[in-house]
């Protein structure tokens, strides 16, 4: 008999066997469907959680990618500046899928109000572009406002920094620092707003002034500290980073968010390890569920398998038949499981879990992410489906081999 005919025969027998004992097959389906659903749901919640965590961490200020003079990230001083090349920013802005790109000036300085003073990180930004890149403008407390285009001697401060200085919106603060050329940089700024972000460090140390003013105050002479870029989605960051590298060249350092905030990535890696353990346990539950039901089905059919062997069914066919039975059950179970996992995940994509009511408690434990939504990824479907299918076949191998090796004489006598 030709290979294809043989396969058709064995597959036909397996197909009938699957539906012959529908209760047993249903139990196996259920194990696979439940396993797939849980894994897909867990993975998509994780994806959503990580995406939100990244978003919450990078959205207020960091952006997706930053371009600096080499050495800036390690030293964070005004000296590490590079020439503000407008054509480069325009090229980056026109690159897809880049949402926005904007220049910044970064300097350390001393803020003074009456008898109080505090060290601050001063960031000069273009407010109209910055609002498309970061979300800091959303955290302005009532009674104040974010920087606006055309502002000159305006400043916004973090809540804790403002408290330390004892200032409120409308007050004036003095800033003393050093310019790019080594001169003294000093200016009085009018406090336009106070912000309170989920990031405590920003609240304690950060102050924002308009870009043009910063350039003048710090005597930048056409130099900038960084270009901050936002991609359309966090998933596009690797691709955009590559394109930006082509545009900016080798002279500058181009850092994606995971290099700018490596602690987030470390947390995700750690969390993934623990989730891998959980998923591994789920896989094992599914695999042993399959092993158990297939073992049972072989054990229940010992006599029948003996009869089949006696009347001319070859051991290879018996083995293939049981493997294909498992493959059929696994295939249908995986499809159903992936669909139900996707449906459950989709529900939590459009109805995210919102813990805003517990913001204060969560911040106490350093958790700034308050909304958890599910995010489906094609790779999770592929990986879960492939893994469960592979495990189904692997764990069927042993009962199938046992069935194929049955002694027909003994098997027929089996009750």
């Amino acid at each position: 008999m030709r290979g294809s005919e043989n396969l058709k025969l064995v597959a036909g027998l397996s197909w009938r066997n699957v539906w012959r004992n529908s209760r047993r097959s249903f139990l196996t389906f259920l194990t696979i469907v439940a396993g797939c659903t849980l894994i897909i749901f867990m993975r998509s919640l994780q994806n959503g959680g990580y995406a939100q965590m990244i978003e919450d961490a990078i959205a207020p200020l960091t952006g997706h990618i930053q371009i600096h003079e080499k050495g800036f990230q390690d030293n964070m001083t005004l000296e590490y500046a590079f020439r503000d090349d407008r054509s480069m920013i325009e090229k980056i802005r026109k690159t897809k899928p880049v949402k926005e790109a904007a220049p910044r000036i970064y300097a350390g300085g001393l803020l003074i109000h009456n008898d109080s003073s505090a060290g601050a990180e001063i960031l000069a930004v273009k407010p109209e572009l910055e609002q498309r890149i970061t979300t800091l403008h959303k955290y302005i407390l009532p009674g104040g406002r974010y920087l606006e285009k055309g502002d000159t001697l305006a400043i916004i401060l973090g809540k804790n920094l403002a408290d330390n200085l004892g200032v409120k919106a409308g007050d004036t603060v003095s800033m003393v620092s050093q310019g790019f050329d080594g001169s003294i940089a000093a200016e009085n700024f009018s406090v336009k707003g106070i912000f309170r972000t989920p990031n405590v460090m920003y609240n304690r140390t950060l102050a924002l002034i308009p870009f043009r003013q910063g350039s003048e105050t710090f005597s930048m002479d056409g130099y900038i500290s960084s270009i901050v870029i936002r991609a359309e989605d966090t998933d596009y960051v690797p691709a955009v980073t590559e394109r930006v590298k082509e545009i900016a060249g080798e002279e500058l350092e181009i850092l994606p968010w995971d290099k700018l905030m490596p602690e987030i990535l470390q947390f995700i890696v750690m969390d993934r390890v623990s989730s891998h353990i959980f998923v591994f346990i789920l896989y094992m539950i599914v695999a042993f569920g399959i092993l158990n039901t297939i073992q049972m089905s072989v054990f229940e059919r010992i006599r029948e398998l003996g009869i089949m062997l006696s009347i001319g069914t070859s051991p290879v066919r018996i083995f293939s038949m049981i493997i294909i039975e498992s493959a059929i059950i696994a295939f249908i179970g995986i499809i159903m499981g992936l669909i139900s996992g996707a449906a459950l995940s989709y529900y939590f994509t459009i109805h995210p879990m919102d813990f805003s009511a517990y913001q204060a408690e969560m911040e106490l434990y350093g958790m700034s992410t308050l909304v958890y939504y599910a995010k489906l990824k094609a790779s999770d479907f592929y990986n879960t489906g492939t893994m469960i299918f592979f495990l189904s076949l692997l764990f069927t191998f042993f009962p199938a081999r046992r069935a194929a090796k049955l002694d027909p004489v003994r098997a027929i006598r089996h009750l």
Partner: protein, 232 residues
């Protein structure tokens, strides 16, 4: 032509088979020499434990010979692989068991079709041949019944149909009438005898039923794993 018809389909020389039962060696067959010619209707008689079933199982390739040579349908069973033995059983041998041994979840016609399915016959041919042979054994009304829904006699007739449907050279039957009442057993024997005469199929069956022994074309007596007497 005549010489060919008389050729041996089963040829056994010096067959021994030992079993290990709770650490004790049991000599099931003790030097069997046997030749069965094509078209014979042979009964192997003997008390329980005399080795009848072991002999049939070895001839049928579902048990292995200990020592000695066994040739069935022109093929030497010694050293054959499991897959080769399966092919031999599928294409040259039909089995009828004492306990019917039908596949419980398949209907009568599906049980018969199964062998044709293994042989790769197409669906239409399978159904036609299976139904035709079930009609021949008088089961045209039981085609779609499962084994549990049929009497012992009906089940055994399905088993006969299953054994015959692939047109085997030999049908081996292990005490086919043992679980049947006398009239049903007699009717089954008539059926087997007719098939033997009409189709020239070689029948070899074990029995300890005197009615069956009387109607056999050839009787072989087995005792303690040895042939003690034979008559034509």
């Amino acid at each position: 032509m005549k010489k060919r018809e008389q050729s041996s389909v089963i040829e056994i020389k010096g067959l021994y088979k030992d079993y290990n039962s709770d650490g004790l060696a049991v000599h099931a067959l003790n030097g069997i020499d046997l030749s069965i010619k094509k078209g014979e209707f042979t009964a192997i008689a003997g008390p329980s434990g005399s080795g009848k079933t072991t002999l049939l199982n070895i001839i049928g390739g579902i048990d292995r010979p200990g020592r000695g040579e066994v040739k069935v349908a022109g093929k030497n069973l010694n050293g054959m692989k499991r897959g080769e033995l399966s092919d031999l059983r599928l294409n040259s041998i039909g089995f009828i068991f004492q306990a019917y041994n039908l596949i419980p979840v398949l209907t009568a016609v599906e049980n018969v079709e199964y062998v044709l399915l293994l042989q790769g016959a197409d669906k239409k041919e399978r159904r036609e041949r299976a139904e035709s042979i079930l009609r021949d054994v008088g089961l045209e009304r039981e085609l779609k019944r499962k084994p549990a829904e049929m009497s012992g006699g009906q089940q055994q007739r399905v088993a006969v149909a299953r054994a015959m449907v692939s047109n085997p050279e030999i049908i081996l039957a292990d005490e086919p009438t043992a679980n049947l009442d006398q009239s049903t057993g007699s009717a089954l024997l008539d059926l087997m005898r007719n098939l033997n005469k009409e189709r020239g199929i070689t029948f070899l069956f074990s029995t300890h039923d005197s009615m069956v022994m009387k109607r056999a074309g050839r009787l072989i007596n087995l005792r303690d794993g040895r042939i003690v007497a034979g008559k034509k």
